[in-house]
Homo-oligomer: 476 residues x 2
């Protein structure tokens, strides 16, 4: 772990342990530099990380303070996955989640659904409608297999913001990020191969490994800084890993942004062991900081990073438009994309290209980022208020997903059953593990603007959790 | 081969050899029954098959005649593929084809693109536009993984026409027929498995086998009646075949409709050897006869047939909406669909459901069927007129694709290079074989209403073929 992350963790622990109270002034940069024998810039980096995580607040010319208004619950613990490749289970729980469709009688906190009701999306809907009225009906024709050039050009432009200088020809448009992941994995791996994944990790990617006959090697992952490079290095030494699959920016489900230095270090590891990296950046544009964080792909100088993303989280998932920048695997990915679905639907590609080109994308992102950041604070407040004492929560630095950890003996399977009867859907923690760990965890969506209905739903989750814990304590 | 097919082939050969001339009356049903020692109904079946193939024409109360207006070119020869499973090649030629996008400077005869310019599709475009204006924006949300119930219900209703009584719950909506094929193959087979295919066969399905690490066992296929059951039986006896993949109704590229009795016999074979059948019915609704032919799936009583189809040929490919009726493989297919693309785009599903429910589908089909049938006759006329002597052509009984066989030494690779410079695209025969056979064949699309521009393009294909053949003869 790098020095500044170490220091940030130390300070963070002191704040969470109550050594510094809300409103307290924290030690100056100079004092900490002397105390820990590190450079001024290391201390500054540490403070910036703590600030990103809401644990400290800067005041101009006065230094850093513990924020007044609230005490954050503790962070989730670092997972302890099996130290060997495992076959992936949990499909029966995943399918339950993905079988659900929008339903006005259920508050759906379980899926990775963005808020699509805002006014900044209207121009996209107008584009879609206009395309249907065009005399040449471009939406009805087969597209070229790589995707509409107009959209690839716009995506290449957007990717400049994450530090990538790519051309339209380096990109393949896909049917959502899901197809990007699937084609990328098949482009690199054979059945039986081992893929290292951050843990907890997106269930869709893990089910893809399962479906393709691969094994997952789950690597312990820090809830603030991402996949443990030490554990990953050990795994790379011990196992013939083919691919490292991570979501380093606005991680799903933990919400962290892996610091840039660690992204570089991860790439170095991959180069040293000559493995490919699948970088899932689907939430990357929803980071709360501006400019958005750089991707691992932006440091990639030998084409080993396959960057997968989509407009499903930034615009709307129902459109099913994603992309992959597959580096040296371009031809393989194209073949895998062809055999998966053939060419991608034309109309949504053209509508999105028009939306971006007309300058609607950045204003929409700005609006959604600030909405999600406010909703995050509200959601953490509700969890703090309604959930059992000792509940731990993540500190999302982007996107709209909160990871909640209940006491170790808790079982969200039971909770889920009770909640479904009460019209509330959550995502059970176990689907984020290849081997069904994190049974005491759950993921909740906070994309929507907070309402009393959502508060009531979160309250139901918390109150049922308290009741189930009490019942268990009585039974035991 | 069944008796009536045998008899039809014998009569067909006599007609094509000139034993009966245009306008001649053919032997009566009774006479042939006596001559060949078969039942009256066998002769009637044989005549019906010949009629379907344009070789005879009935006149009320007078019997059967050789059609006056034209002599059809001979049928393509039955292929002689390798009698063992092979690895699939040809990706470099397929990708060339699928990289193309609509281009007004090129007459694209190469792709499986229907005519989408007719007035009967307008209500579909209206539906798409209306959905974009709806306040609840259903097109932006994640759909349930199986597909929108409204569309599944309509598809189940349509499938009654091919003899299938299924419910919405027996169906999974996919991103085009391509995903249906891909998910079905992965649901049944593992890498290394052998799949028996008709030959020539759709390049997309074969590239899918290649991409998934399977081998193809190409089975000789009759240009009028489909895959040879005798050769298939032999292959099933000799090799551990896991799946039989066929396009029995309006075959791509040969255009035949496999007779019903042979469809049943194929299913019996599959039952005897306990293998699954993947039935590609994507062109089935475009059969020129009404009611449309039954599917193998309609006879399936133990769930071993996975029927794959889509609206790409009947409505428009740019929508990317297909489906699969996976029988006993439903849960596996659902998993494979999930890991391929997640849920399917919502808006085109809703628009198509609305189009069918409002009664627009059947009138549209009727119009397209008769347009395609007329274009077929025109295209065969052009080929007869402009192509080298001895050119053989298929007798499409549906869809909009003609298979053309040039003299054995001919190489369409050279022809293709020349044509691309002249603004004409064809599909080379070699991509329809796992091992690159059929180099002397090509497939042409006749979906569009015939125009002088298309005639000029077909003429270019023919004239270049004549020139290349002459050059080769001189060189040799």
């Amino acid at each position: 772990m790098t020095l500044y992350v170490n220091l940030a963790e130390l300070l963070g622990a002191r704040i969470e342990q109550g050594l510094y109270r809300p409103g307290d002034r924290l030690p100056s940069v100079r004092a900490l530099s002397l105390e820990h024998g590190v450079s001024l810039s290391t201390v500054q980096q540490a403070y910036r990380l703590l600030e990103d995580n809401g644990l400290v607040a800067p005041r101009p010319k006065s230094g850093y303070f513990v924020p007044q208004h609230r005490t954050l619950p503790a962070l989730p613990a670092i997972g302890r996955p099996a130290q060997r490749p495992v076959d992936i289970s949990q499909w029966e729980h995943v399918v339950e989640l993905v079988r659900s469709s929008p339903n006005k009688d259920v508050v759906q906190l379980g899926r990775g659904m963005p808020d699509v009701t805002g006014p900044t999306l209207k121009p996209l809907l107008r584009s879609l409608a206009q395309l249907s009225r065009r005399q040449d009906m471009p939406g009805l024709y087969y597209d070229t297999i790589s995707g509409t050039p107009a959209l690839r050009e716009q995506v290449a432009r957007l990717m400049l913001d994450s530090g990538c200088t790519l051309s339209a020809n380096d990109l393949v448009i896909t049917t959502g990020c899901h197809e990007a992941l699937s084609a990328s994995i098949r482009a690199v791996c054979e059945p039986g191969d081992i893929v290292a994944v951050d843990s907890p990790s997106f269930h869709g990617a893990m089910q893809t490994l399962k479906g393709l006959g691969m094994k997952a090697m789950e690597i312990p992952t820090d809830p603030l800084t991402g996949i443990s490079l030490e554990a990953l290095e050990l795994a790379l030494e011990q196992w013939p890993i083919k691919l490292i699959q991570v979501t380093p920016t606005c991680n799903n489900p933990l919400g962290y942004v892996m610091p840039e230095a660690r992204k570089r270090a991860l790439l170095n590891l991959a180069q040293r062991f000559d493995v490919a990296i699948l970088e899932d950046d689907v939430y990357g544009d929803l980071a709360y900081t501006y400019p958005r964080p750089r991707t691992i792909k932006s440091f990639d100088d030998d084409g080993r990073v396959l960057l997968c993303s989509s407009f499903s989280k930034t615009l709307a998932p129902g459109l099913r438009i994603g992309w992959v920048a597959p580096g040296r695997y371009l031809e393989r990915v194209l073949h895998m994309k062809y055999i998966g679905t053939g060419s991608t639907a034309t109309q949504p590609q053209l509508a999105i290209a028009d939306f971006i080109e007309s300058g609607h994308y950045q204003p929409h992102l700005r609006r959604m980022r600030s909405q999600y950041q406010r909703s995050r604070d509200q959601m953490i407040d509700w969890v703090t208020r309604y959930f059992p004492a000792g509940t731990r929560v993540s500190r999302p630095q982007g996107s709209f997903l909160l990871w909640v950890e209940l006491p170790e003996q808790f079982d969200t399977l039971k909770l889920n059953r009770v909640l479904l009867e009460q019209g509330v859907q959550i995502a059970m923690g176990s689907i984020f593990s290849a081997s069904g760990k994190y049974r005491n965890c759950l993921r909740m969506n906070y994309a929507a603007v907070p309402t009393p209905v959502i508060e009531a739903a979160v309250r139901k989750v918390g109150e049922n959790a308290i009741r189930l814990l009490a019942e268990e304590a009585n039974a035991g």
